[in-house]
Subunit: 344 residues, 4 copies
């Protein structure tokens, strides 16, 4: 009954098998391994983007901060939601990597709307050299609240960004969970909608630790390489990143993992709904934000369930509802869900 | 016959076995995994340093730049040799992470001497606020030229540093190769000599990608944690770093790997010496810098040998000697050395 | 009829006279001039702070970014209002100088309240190393909307800050305008209320270009000096900064200038009120935010009045009110105010 | 008998007169003052560069670090001599403003030669992403040792730089002293030789505190403006910078000041030579590096002469020669030189 995070479960055994398979003989370091060439080909194929530049790093934060610093200038401000990982969970990594850019918080909600974005962009009105200049827009898909932007919503946000001449970054730490939720193609969810650069997550979806950064226009690729190296994110034994990503994209493992996680989350959500839980956001991928009475949380924790309370603690009136976050990864078993729902 | 680098061979199978063993059930992320507690204990034990703060990162550059930025201020200059990895192989990573500190190059040789260091320190004389202030001294052990500082040499350098009140960092990307070469204890090669912080390498010595940063005085440990996080070097699925390091330090794998690499390099060096090669530096660990005629290099390359020419190319007089770098890792087989020496 | 800014009028002739007087013979550079010793003494006397460390720079932004970077760490977030100069008018200077710290916007109003501040501080809850850590609180006095924090308000904000262990910075670009408005002592408006560091403005109050940074606790003074030098803000011919500040603090020039500016603004405000203008904020120093019909603005501009529309343009319904900002500096003549009010 | 520095004498009275003249009425701030338009025109005229972008700052360090950061990327290394002001006298300001670029020290001598530069550039050979990339070349004219590059020398250095595709920056803190020494035009000493950006000094040549940064190709001018603002170097009351620079360029004041300083230095040098002083560098502008016996220094200091010992102290054998630096500014009187030489 572990629903704390999609980074706390094990990696898919196919990932580890690929590591073992790659662990033979000599390989060129620093991204010149043969597996990396295959990763690039495979990602270009999947994204229908034959010119895309593709890079691997080991953490989602690295993918985000390196992508954003390549897209921006230190005197700009980046646009994201208040709850965006780049705002609340990277300890000022974006400010560090960009050399001191700012983040403008577009919305407190799970999703920014085109109207929110336009208002925030207008708020950074032309103050000449006095204020920060407008920089890239970063959209998180799956959102930090477990919802998924529709293709129309993505397109509309990209349209607003483009009307200001601004590049769009997609924080896709849970990219595949969104993809299978929407049932669209990677191209539709990215460059066809207007996205310029993607942080394409593997870690939260069954890998050990690997993320791809994909530039659909390779013009700034060389700059990214310098930034990755001086950020200390270029692996000497790079084949082990490549092997993970290649296995992830082989035999639909990425899709199988995300589909499993989403399906389990859907079962869990249905059970919670039946138990009377209130959902602050509609669970559309593998995360659920559901409110239950404190007494219920206490009982579940006592029985060994693991998950995070989101907007409160166990201190307070027993009957008062407190929202919790439940996350399913690829590995959660039906038995665990059954056990949890039985308890509930 | 692959002697290009100690990052091009495979990881030791014991490392991969440990990854598989760790790949079960749920684990807390971000360094709160149970394996990490064991890593800390084991490193404290090995280093006879019960108070040491221990952190894991995935690249040697990350270990160096995070350690050095924690030890320094942006208005300081760091002292190292010209060939130090932090100077020539990190694409200004130290300058980036420190917020703009400088490197003062103490010596062009493999090792800095106490006299070199003192001269460089005096060269950064007191210019009030105008010049950079003196910052940490960084020593590379094994040196970039395959030699090893003796304990006396290390102590003397640390003594100079301490006489200026400066902390000492040891870049130990090849820490264990030096250790088995000297036949001393980790404590003797570090804090007993006066070293304050160590980049303790695993990657070049048979791991997939893991390095420990060890602070003997934990006073700045909290700062290191913020720096690691905002540098995007804190792994969510941290257990896979821990598992590597734990396996590395179990059953003497670290010592076995380094001993094997050094022994193979000694055999290779002996054969090169017999073949008349000139050594620009005495090979004391697992790296050899040996000069051979161009014609010989050409013949070896044609036969499939892989290594780097260090100070020239194949263009030129056939009989002219060109220095090459040969590196042995833990995995190189006697058969490969035999084949190479037979060719030679 | 020029009310655009308190940086567009001339410097007080006493300032220029002091420059000329200082322009004789040789003087030590870089802050070692004799005038600077007098400046330090005078500021310590005025602030009843015999231990204070005092530094001069030439711009208000320099004072702010150097002060704040000395008080903070790159992984922290600073607390200020949305309209604070450090947020909207320094082109990410604070982010640059701090090495990538963040600003948390406490309030959209002119003043932050203790409740606002506490809520913002709680909003940066303990996320371990993931989120930014809490850093200094920066309060602007006179506020960007022309209001003045009472001593009680200042003390309450400082108390909240101190209860979180955070230092307090006062952006006093218009320090003296606030001081004469409150009728209190400099000590009461700063360290007695709990302020740790002040940007003490001269430029907007009749100087050519000089600001003092005052640290009541000199512990971090040496760090400030390094930061000022590497920020390129240490003047070689420093005597010309000193001479300005010394003249400013001689014969009550600072108080006379601010009193004049505030008095003229009060006359202007009274006239605007009589003419039916609506005040979005109570004008308590030398700035007025007053709404007039577009047609009135048009008429005033046509007659040669100079000031900034604040929240709109001349495009729109003629009878609709648009807020404008009027600023009086020390030099504005009664004749100008008379002429403007006659027009109105 | 004050020869300590060309920043310790008074400003030329014409500069102060210009400040007073400018101190009337209202002026637009932040560089939009009318005087600035005249400054730009005048500099374009003097430099025969009708497209040049021109900016003013108050310190020479600001001019250098803003110019260099605009020309470079954080992953590059800049080329200069060891004694360059940007290396030894800016407290890592260039590293700070560039976001962590490095300086490669081309030569320990007063001037770099084309061979030195080429060797240094080759030393930063292509290491892919591992090492820093080659960035701008910065040449100091007058050199830090009082010598002056000939036009042929400048052209040769620029030719080498251009052959690597690198921009050239001229640190002209003593630009005019070099100009009158060479008897050439500003265009000849800059863009006609291949210089791209100049720090055009005023402060050391009789101004209070003003330097121009001149971009002959205005393509990066907008970026410079953002960097100046966030560096806190954009003056609100900008007219006082403009007025200084305009007066400096009016009635040949810049040339008169530099000619006077050079002439006085020539007289001083002749007297020193007659007294048997040894010159470590040929004094070609307004700085002299001359060795005298310790006993002589002691005698001169005792008699009130002010100058800096350069490579030693008064402690040691009385008859041993110690090199001292003597600098003449525009204001030094013949009576002072007479008095000094009489003493000598």
């Amino acid at each position: 009954m572990h629903f704390a995070s999609d980074n706390s479960g094990p990696a898919n055994p196919e990932i580890l098998a690929a590591l073992s398979a790659a662990n033979t003989g000599y390989a060129m370091g620093y991204g010149a391994d043969e597996e990396m060439a295959k990763v690039t080909s495979r990602i270009r194929e999947i994204f229908e983007a034959p010119q895309a530049a593709v890079y691997l790093v080991a953490t989602g934060t690295a993918a985000n901060v390196l992508a954003l610093s390549t897209l921006s200038q230190p005197w700009q401000t980046l646009f994201c939601t208040r709850q965006a990982h780049i705002n609340v969970d990277e300890c000022n990594g974006p400010e560090f990597y960009t050399g001191g850019a700012k983040l403008t918080l577009v919305s407190d909600a799970d999703k920014m709307t085109p109207a929110d974005l336009r208002q925030a962009l207008e708020g950074e009105e032309n103050r000449g050299v006095h204020g920060p200049q407008r920089g890239p827009v970063s959209i998180t898909q799956v959102t930090e609240f477990g919802t998924v932007y529709t293709l129309d919503e993505l397109r509309a946000l990209c349209d607003v960004s483009k009307s200001y001449g601004l590049p769009v970054h997609l924080d896709g730490a849970r990219f595949t969970n969104a993809l299978v939720s929407l049932g669209c193609t990677p191209a539709e969810m990215t460059w066809k909608a207007g996205v310029d650069v993607v942080s394409f997550g593997g870690t939260k979806n069954g890998c050990m630790g690997v993320e791809a950064v994909i530039f659909f226009d390779p013009a700034k690729a060389q700059e990214f390489e310098y930034r990755r190296k001086r950020g200390a994110h270029l692996f000497s034994k790079h084949r082990y990143l490549s092997a993970q990503m290649l296995a992830y994209l082989t035999d639909d493992l990425w899709l199988r993992n995300a589909s499993a996680a989403n399906a389990k989350a859907a079962r869990l959500a249905a059970g919670l709904r039946d138990a009377g839980a209130h959902f602050s956001h509609d669970p559309q991928a593998n995360m659920i934000f559901a409110a239950l009475p404190r007494a219920t949380h206490q009982r579940l924790f006592d029985a060994g369930a693991v998950y995070h309370l989101w907007d409160g603690t166990l201190d307070g009136a027993a009957e008062e509802a407190v929202t919790a976050r439940f996350v399913c990864d690829w590995s959660v078993g039906d038995d665990q869900i059954d056990a949890f729902l039985a308890l509930l």
